[in-house]
């Protein structure tokens, strides 16, 4: 479980670092980016996990999302892992951009040759948090997750499959119903085998239909003119319909963005969501059944004074 620091840069009074470690789950060397806010020098901070989209590495989010200022302000540790095992020398892993390397799809593969290494679901769910909690000043009770595209799908399924584990979940243009779309069919078929009923365990829309447990509060941002939205890869409507039926609270915002990209402000809002959702309730302790508790007449929660950070809606596009 030894960590090897690859890089470290001072950033908004905190540090943006990249580490490498040997993953037991994935049986390969994995890198992840971690932002340590100034507050981490003196106290424990909640952790926000970012899951990137297709083809991404840990670098994309670090360099393009410009989340660090908000994270510094709110005292959040932000962890951005890679999107798949790398260098496992599996035949065909680099053949296509939407399968294999850079396209782990956050599932535990059951099919050969992938099942040994491609266990991103377990990696994100267990191994990485353990590693982070063991090596950094974190508050293990407070973690949230968000992601983009395939990462959005990852965030949704991780939250839906582990009620109460995450304080909040946000997704940007997530793949909401992979069993219905081309990307999903290809990846899930590849990793889990042809039996489509097995895929449902990793499908957000399917998971919502049987969800019970802690109340979820899901925020989804979607660019209106996203080419993959119109191509039927993302299918948010299916997810919304399922949530409406199951009374799972979702705010779905169709933004005026021109392409499949991340709105800068959305990331920041997601970061802030995490910060409040996590921090405000620190006094009450973790209570399964509520991702975010309403805490009344608790002044210390209110005192944190979140200043709205405003930036021009500069679109910092990430790769899928």
């Amino acid at each position: 479980m030894a960590l090897k620091q690859i890089s470290s840069n001072k950033c908004f009074e905190g540090f943006q670092k990249v580490f490498e470690h040997d993953s037991a789950e994935l049986k390969c060397k994995m890198k992840f980016g971690i932002y340590l806010p100034p507050k981490a020098e003196t106290g424990k901070c909640p952790v926000l996990y970012w899951l990137s989209g297709l083809t991404c590495t840990e670098q994309n989010f670090i360099t393009k999302a410009a989340f660090q200022q908000a994270a510094a302000q709110h005292g959040l540790i932000v962890v951005a892992p890679d999107t798949s095992p790398r260098g496992c020398n599996i035949e065909g892993e680099d053949e296509s951009w939407d399968f294999g390397t850079g396209a782990g799809f956050y599932v535990d593969a059951t099919e050969d040759p992938w099942k040994t290494n491609y266990r991103m679901y377990s990696y994100i769910k267990d191994e990485l948090p353990k590693l982070i909690n063991a090596n950094f000043p974190t508050d293990p009770e407070r973690m949230s997750i968000f992601g983009h595209s395939m990462g959005g799908h990852g965030a949704l399924i991780l939250a839906l499959k582990n009620p109460g584990k995450y304080k909040s979940v946000s997704a940007f243009a997530p793949i909401c119903n992979p069993i219905q779309c081309q990307w999903g069919k290809k990846a899930l078929g590849g990793y889990l085998g042809p039996d489509a009923s097995k895929w449902e365990a990793y499908d957000a829309t399917q998971l919502v239909k049987s969800y019970s447990g802690a109340r979820l509060d899901i925020l989804i941002d979607q660019g209106k003119d996203d080419q993959f939205l119109s191509a039927g890869q993302l299918l948010p409507d299916n997810f919304i319909a399922a949530c409406t039926e199951r009374k799972i609270p979702v705010v779905f915002r169709l933004q005026q963005a021109s392409c499949f990209c991340l709105i800068f402000g959305s990331v920041q809002q997601a970061v802030k969501r995490m910060s409040v959702g996590g921090q405000a309730c620190s006094h009450c302790g973790p209570v399964p059944g509520h991702l975010r508790r309403r805490v009344r007449s608790d002044t210390s929660c209110r005192r944190m004074g979140h200043q709205g950070v405003r930036h021009p809606p500069d679109s910092a596009a990430l790769h899928h």
Binding site: D217, P249, R253, R273, G277, R293, R294, S297
Partner: protein, 750 residues
């Protein structure tokens, strides 16, 4: 026995010197010697006194009467001096320095330099300084005692003590290596002497401890002296006042005497004149009468003579016939005429009574009381009135004897002819009176006359007093508040305007609900005030009205919780079809079209949108409220400027921001409208309770599903003006508004 380690042994001795009897004996001896010395220089003392008196006169600003005063005071002070002479143990030669000190102590007492000059207590000062200071203090105390003001005992003791210390010092010089202090003889001695010398059987103490106790003693005395100085200053200022009063009284009495004696003198002079004149007249009449008598007497004489001559001539007449003729005619006729020889005028004058009764009366009246002068009525003292009573005060210029006063008053009215304004008259013994049963915030006119046995004075000037106002009434339903402020308004119960209002706050604590005023805001000109408060507290707020006469009673208090924002619905803005239920916060709409179409429309009310505005406190910061809705009601809720167009729809213009709920056949649709624009947002769980957060500081208006703490949407807008909550119904239904809610922490979200 350990001869050299005697320290320990000395420690067991009491610190306080015990040989007090001996000491006082010595003092007496010394005193008597000094007082005899003192007798030898009365002149010098007298001289000093004169100077001092001059000084005093200057101090009291009595220069013009200086000579007289000097005489008076000089005599007086000499007497005092002789009385206090035992206290004077000063050597004659030090008198001048005493005088200097008295000067400095009266003129430069406050300056910092005076400390040095006067030698006021300074514990840290060295031996010689101390003795100098002591001497100075002695001098000062004697100065004050000479003024006849000091209590002799203290200075007496003090002086004698000082004297004894001088002695000590002298002897100290002789004994070179004194290390212990003989309490009996009051001198430092060598330890050796204790054992073998004169002090063998005397009580001794260690020198440092003796010095310490002595210093303490000195310090105490210093304090006493300071007290006395303060006391004396007090007395002096008192005397000053008495000086002035004596002067005034003298002048008044003098004038009184002058007037009355002048009267008496005039009356006497007049009497004298009158009497003299009457006397002269009588004399003249008498003389005239006498003269007439004399004249007639002369005439008679002449006639007699003539007749005699004629008769003689007749005698000489030879002609008998002629003789007979003539004789028969004149003489008998003349003789028949009676000669008035009675003295009709007496030389005595009429007995005249000198009547001094009038003068006597006048003289008596000098000592008897004159009829008093008109009293002087005081203007109204502020804050002395209540709503129904006034305290009127007056005074007299002169020392007139007054048995009682007659106080009259009547309400001031603009209509002169109104006879209903009855004049009231009261007899009062004192120079003040509290009149009750008056009307609040009303002007009354007062005048007063003084009465005594000799008569009644003319009335004083008329003074107008005003009663305090009635307590105002706080408009309970119009209170707006938030965590940090409250806007309270009230109405006056008086017809006449009042000067200002005072708002009194009392913060209620959990422990005790005592109403102690924690803050008052005074001088509020209007019937409305914005009060800054602390969050999450309870306040009792009451208002008093204020005018010249004073302040009214408190209004009924209102309770304000600063837990959250409270507003009220502005009924004036309500669309005619919109009804506010009794709780004041539930609005309902039963039908969208009124068949009769004849609804009253007010100037300020919404005409198109079935809407109403709330009245929010105009205060920056955060405001949060919630609205309970039903899933099948269509509504618009949000905020709007006060002047948002009444004929338009909320959210359709740039002066309102609102969340709109529309029911489509397929789903619940939510719009977040401003200027007719909305983002495309889908909400999977229809909110039943909508939280609205207005945050002026962060320029945002946020909507939440309050039941699940879900953020729905935020408008980012820099509000140019204060906004008000707005509510509109687009289908029949009700909206329940909840105010006074603490802003939930999760609203900090987006």
């Amino acid at each position: 026995m350990d001869l050299y380690g005697s320290k320990e042994r000395f420690d067991i001795f009491p610190e306080e010197p015990s040989g007090r009897g001996d000491r006082s004996l010595g003092d007496t001896r010394r005193e008597s010697a000094l007082s005899s010395e003192k007798v030898q220089c009365p002149q010098e003392v007298g001289y000093d006194l004169e100077k001092e008196v001059a000084e005093l006169a200057k101090m009291y600003g009595l220069d013009e009467d200086r000579e007289k005063e000097l005489e008076l005071l000089g005599g007086h002070l000499e007497k005092v001096e002789s009385r206090w002479s035992p206290a004077h143990t000063e050597k004659a030669g030090s008198q001048d320095s005493i005088y200097n000190i008295s000067k400095s102590s009266s003129s430069v007492r406050d300056s910092s330099q005076s400390t040095k000059q006067q030698g006021l207590p300074d514990e840290a000062s060295q031996g010689e300084n101390q003795s100098k200071a002591r001497a100075d203090d002695e001098a000062e105390s004697s100065i004050w005692s000479r003024g006849g003001l000091s209590s002799g005992g203290v200075s007496d003791e003090w002086n004698s003590q000082a004297v004894s210390e001088e002695e000590e010092e002298e002897e100290e010089e002789e004994a070179e290596a004194a290390d212990v202090f003989c309490s009996t003889c009051k001198i430092p001695i060598r330890a050796f002497d204790k054992l073998f010398g004169d002090h063998k059987d005397h009580e001794v103490a260690q020198l440092p401890s003796a010095v310490e106790s002595e210093k303490e003693e000195i310090h105490k005395n210093m304090c006493k002296l300071e007290e006395q100085i303060a006391q004396m200053e007090n007395v002096a200022s008192h005397l000053e006042e008495i000086f002035i009063t004596v002067e005034e009284n003298f002048g008044r009495q003098e004038q009184n005497f002058e007037v009355h004696y002048n009267d008496a003198v005039q009356v006497l002079a007049q009497k004298y004149e009158e009497q003299l004149e009457a006397l002269g007249e009588e004399k003249r009449q008498k003389l005239e009468a006498l003269y007439e008598q004399l004249v007639s007497c002369g005439k008679h004489l002449d006639t007699c003579k003539e007749l005699t001559d004629e008769t003689q001539e007749l005698f000489l007449e030879n002609d008998k016939a002629e003789f007979m003729k003539v004789k028969s005619f004149n003489c008998p006729k003349f003789l028949k005429q009676e000669v008035d020889l009675e003295l009709s005028t007496l030389p005595d004058f009429e007995e005249r009574v000198i009547d001094v009764s009038e003068v006597e009366q006048l003289m008596n009246s000098i000592n008897a009381i004159p009829a008093p002068c008109a009293p002087v009525i005081n203007p109204q003292a502020p804050n002395a009135a209540t709503g129904t009573s006034l305290r009127v005060c007056w005074g007299l210029f002169s020392d007139d004897t007054v048995e009682c006063y007659q106080l009259c008053y009547q309400p001031v009215s603009n209509e002169r002819h109104s006879d209903g304004q009855a004049e009231h008259t009261l007899k009062v013994k004192e120079t003040y009176c509290t009149i009750t049963d008056l009307l609040p915030n009303t002007q009354y006119e007062f005048w007063v006359s003084a009465l005594n046995a000799s008569g009644i004075s003319p009335p004083s000037e008329r003074a107008v007093y005003v009663t305090a106002p009635s307590p105002p009434t706080i408009k309970n339903k119009k209170i707006r508040s938030c965590e940090n402020a409250a806007l309270v308004c009230w109405e006056s119960r008086d017809i006449n305007p009042v000067d200002s209002y005072t708002v009194e706050l009392s913060k209620l604590t959990d422990e005790e609900n005592d109403d102690f005023i924690t803050e008052s805001i005074v001088g509020i000109p209007n019937c409305e005030v914005l009060i800054h408060l602390q969050p999450t507290q309870k306040y009792h707020i009451c208002v008093r009205a204020q005018n010249l006469g004073g302040s009214s009673e408190r209004s009924e208090p209102v309770l304000i919780h600063t837990t959250g924002t409270c507003f009220y619905l502005n009924e004036d803005t309500a669309h005619p079809l919109l009804a506010i239920l009794d709780d004041g916060f539930t609005i309902s709409c039963d039908e969208l079209e009124n068949p009769e179409c004849d609804l009253p429309v007010y100037d300020n009310s919404f005409t198109r949108c079935i809407a109403i505005l709330g009245s929010l406190i105009p205060f920056p910061g955060k405001h949060y409220w919630e609205v309970e809705v039903t899933e099948d009601t269509e509504y618009r809720i949000g905020v709007a400027f006060e002047n948002t167009p009444r004929h338009g729809h909320l959210g359709a213009n740039n002066s309102s921001w609102c969340m709109r709920h529309i029911i489509t056949p397929s789903r619940h649709k939510y719009e977040f409208l401003h200027s007719g624009m909305t983002p495309d947002i889908r909400i999977t769980v229809p909110p039943r309770r909508i939280g609205i957060l207005l945050d002026y500081e962060n320029c945002r208006l946020s909507f939440f599903n309050a039941d699940i703490a879900q953020h729905l949407h935020t408008f980012n807008s820099h509000f140019q003006h204060y906004v008000h909550p707005c509510f509109a119904l687009e289908t029949p239904g009700i909206l329940r508004i909840h105010t006074g809610i603490t802003t939930p922490p999760w609203t900090a979200l987006p």
